[in-house]
């Protein structure tokens, strides 16, 4: 294999700006997914009648449909009824819609791992249901869920590579068009891999750090 290093260096600015785009879309996607995850669990925790059903339905749809379908619906379908969203907004919505259900489930397993009698001891000490959630359940649940949340963040980062399907300049899309223009497949794929690793490594380090910080509990 004969790599053209000069070419690889020359596409750094392009790849970096694509990576920045990927970061933006992923960070927003993770943020809103997490909010959905928290919201879903609050609904389950208080057993709010109508919304519990809503979240169950949402989870099913979100987990069982491909993100591409969701994207096409947002990007090509909605304009038919007069709602036009930018590629970026569509990407964030699709990623959040997909990630939300995964976050709901990851957090839920953590919340369910807190024993019933631990909650009862909170009740016995006159705490309200909300105080028990905030001070007792969530801190413990977040720790238990950390692995799942981490996996979800990585998952969403990887899924963001599919958002290029609606022609937004994220990493995968930029790499693909670069290949089709200059046929420097090896160089571009190598750079692409390198960029994804650079994106994922800090997340991995961050979660390992978090886990260590939180380990004192058990």
């Amino acid at each position: 294999m004969n790599l053209n290093v000069d070419y690889m260096i020359s596409i750094i600015p392009l790849m970096t700006s694509a990576a920045t785009y990927t970061i933006k879309i992923t960070v927003l996607g993770v943020f809103f997914s997490f909010l959905i995850g928290i919201a879903g669990n609050i609904v389950y925790y208080y057993k709010i009648p109508f919304l519990s059903g809503f979240f169950k339905g949402y989870t099913e749809i979100s987990r069982n449909t491909p993100i591409i379908a969701q994207l096409f619906f947002l990007f090509f379908g909605l304009p038919q009824v007069g709602i036009t969203l930018s590629g970026f907004v569509c990407g964030v919505i699709a990623l959040s819609f997909l990630g939300g259900s995964y976050m709901v489930e990851a957090l839920r397993s953590g919340i369910e791992s807190v024993s019933k009698i631990q909650k009862e001891s909170g009740f016995a000490l006159a705490l309200s249901k909300t105080q028990i959630l905030v001070y007792i359940i969530l801190p413990q649940a977040l720790r238990t869920s950390l692995q799942g949340l981490f996996a979800n963040v990585i998952f969403l980062l990887r899924e963001s590579s599919l958002i290029g399907a609606i022609a937004v300049p994220e990493l995968m899309h930029v790499a693909r068009s670069e290949i089709s223009m200059f046929f420097r497949t090896e160089e571009v794929l190598l750079m692409l891999t390198f960029y994804y690793i650079i994106l994922i490594a800090p997340i991995s380090i961050f979660f390992t750090f978090l886990e260590k910080r939180l380990r004192y509990a058990r």
Partner: protein, 241 residues
């Protein structure tokens, strides 16, 4: 504290059948009985962890236990300690002690902290303020759990088999704390299997079986002169250990 005709069923199974109990202020009552006789459920009914099906609860001459009950108010006055300690594992000892007094009773943090430290001194654990529960032994955790309940200034304390999952050697230090509380005049209902403790530290012994109070008397009468056949059977098993 008074219980009148307390009845409670889980499904078809009646775990409490018209139980009546009168606990005078400043007295320590021990409830004995085989597993599943309803003694833990009785304690849990008193602070609303289980809802009663029928009967009346009276605390400080005020009836409670119906739909309108402000349980948080009741629970602020009735402390409960569990068999499995249930300290909050993600908080250190001090934060465990401060949470309810500051968040529920809205008391001043420094005032509660002072109280917590002096209580910890009395149970010999004032050097453990910054420890996390997993760094403590069972006996230590249980003493902290007792202190945690005491920080709420309860008028009544419920102990649910608090020594059942502690190393035999550590049981003494926990029982000693409860004994001290009794000497200070705390009103207590204690569910336990520690016969020696029941004999020496209680004012009144209750024996329960199948959701009923079978016999109740002073500890002396109870252990040396039980009247009911079922009580004799139960006590015999302990003599033959």
């Amino acid at each position: 504290m008074e219980l009148r005709n307390i009845t409670k069923s889980f499904g078809d199974k009646k775990v409490l059948d018209k139980v009546n109990l009168n606990v005078k202020e400043g007295s320590a009552i021990v409830i004995l009985g085989p597993s599943g006789c309803g003694k833990s459920t009785l304690l849990r009914c008193i602070n609303g962890l289980e809802k009663t099906d029928d009967g009346e609860l009276v605390f400080n001459n005020i009836k409670y236990g119906d739909e309108k009950t402000n349980w948080r108010n009741i629970r602020g006055q009735i402390g409960m300690v569990f068999q499995s300690y249930e300290l909050y594992p993600h908080m250190n000892v001090l934060d465990n002690l401060l949470l309810s007094p500051t968040k529920v009773q809205k008391r001043d943090k420094n005032e509660v902290k002072e109280m917590a430290i002096s209580l910890l001194k009395r149970v010999g654990l004032d050097d453990r303020l910054k420890s996390y529960p997993h760094q403590l032994s069972g006996g230590q955790k249980q003493r902290i759990a007792i202190v945690r309940a005491l920080c709420m200034n309860p008028k009544l304390m419920l102990f649910d088999e608090v020594t059942a999952s502690i190393d035999p050697e550590m049981v003494y230090e926990v029982l000693q704390v409860i004994r001290d509380l009794k000497n200070e005049g705390m009103t207590m209902i204690i569910v336990t299997h520690e016969m020696g403790f029941a004999k020496s530290a209680s004012d009144h012994v209750i024996f329960m079986d199948s959701g009923n109070i079978v016999e109740q008397s002073s500890p002396n009468d109870f252990f040396s002169n039980p009247k009911e056949e079922r009580t004799k059977q139960f006590l015999n098993k302990f003599l033959h250990l």
